[in-house]
């Protein structure tokens, strides 16, 4: 029961089999391993405590329901996060269409003069940090991001996943991931700067 740091390969065929037959100890190990992370991710995507709990529960339901078709080609964790992303999309009714135009021109070009110099000095790290640390400000700023950008930001910056994993979770190419992350970070940064004044 307690915190024995027994190493389990969650993606091994045996473990998956034991999950399929709903062996108590395996189910418990997996659920205990990832539920907290999923709750964290739900918060990161802007869900509150009760909606987040509901989301996480439906992720697990779907996971066990789909388990017989999971072939173990990606890591279990990646698979679970893919379900999380899709469930969150359903709940948020996110219909954001991804556009592939260069986000730099869209978001950054007007910040520079003809010589490529900044038109406005960016905020000092101290001031920026103070603004970003305000939960109210950052959550307001995150709210307006499309789910896809929030998810990419969460997976990359908060959980430090590899790009390969994130691309699988979001169902995108690595070029797109760069663009999506860039959009997310620049929009957040701009919003936090604006709100700090």
């Amino acid at each position: 029961m307690s915190v024995q740091s027994e190493k389990i390969n969650f993606s091994s065929a045996e473990f998956l089999k034991s999950l399929q037959s709903r062996e108590n100890s395996s189910v418990e190990k997996l659920v205990k391993k990832y539920t907290k992370q999923l709750v964290n991710a739900a918060y990161g995507l802007g869900f509150n405590e009760s909606d987040g709990a509901e989301l996480v529960q439906s992720v697990w339901f779907t996971f066990f329901e789909k388990l017989p078709t999971f072939e173990g080609r990606s890591h279990v964790r990646t698979y679970i996060y893919g379900i999380l992303y899709n469930k969150a999309k359903e709940l948020k009714r996110d219909r954001h269409k991804y556009t592939s135009e260069d986000p730099f021109d869209e978001l950054m070009a007007d910040k520079f003069d003809n010589f490529g110099h900044w038109l406005k000095m960016p905020l000092s790290p101290e001031k920026f940090l103070a603004s970003a640390q305000s939960l109210e400000i950052i959550e307001k700023c995150l709210e307006v991001l499309p789910l896809q950008q929030k998810m990419a930001f969460q997976c990359k910056e908060i959980e430090g996943n590899t790009s390969v994993e994130i691309c699988k979770i979001l169902g995108i190419t690595s070029t797109n991931l760069g663009v999506i992350l860039y959009r997310a970070k620049i929009k957040l940064r701009d919003c936090i700067e604006r709100k700090s004044q």
């Binding site: 000095m121 690595s174 760069g178």
Partner: protein, 82 residues
């Protein structure tokens, strides 16, 4: 030397940078306050958010443990359903 606009473009995640570009960025950031601030801001974003979410998750530990129990119970009870 590259302009600030070019540097800002290279600071984008996902860019595969050559060694020369990396050195160019480093040098530029040493000499240019505006770009140094911009670069630092992008770093701060992830760090701050990570901290905030960590605290939020920690605060709901009891809630999460109950949730875990509930899920485990439900999933192990449905053995015969699939």
């Amino acid at each position: 030397m590259r302009s600030c606009k070019e540097i800002a473009k290279l600071l984008v995640p996902g860019h595969k940078l050559t060694l020369l570009q990396k050195m160019g960025i480093k040098l530029h950031l040493l000499l240019c306050l505006a770009c140094a601030r911009f670069s630092k801001q992008l770093k701060i974003l992830g760090e701050v958010r990570k901290q905030q979410l960590g605290q939020k998750t920690l605060a709901s530990t009891t809630h999460t443990e109950l949730l875990e129990k509930k899920i485990i119970a439900e999933m192990t009870n449905k053995k015969s359903s699939s």
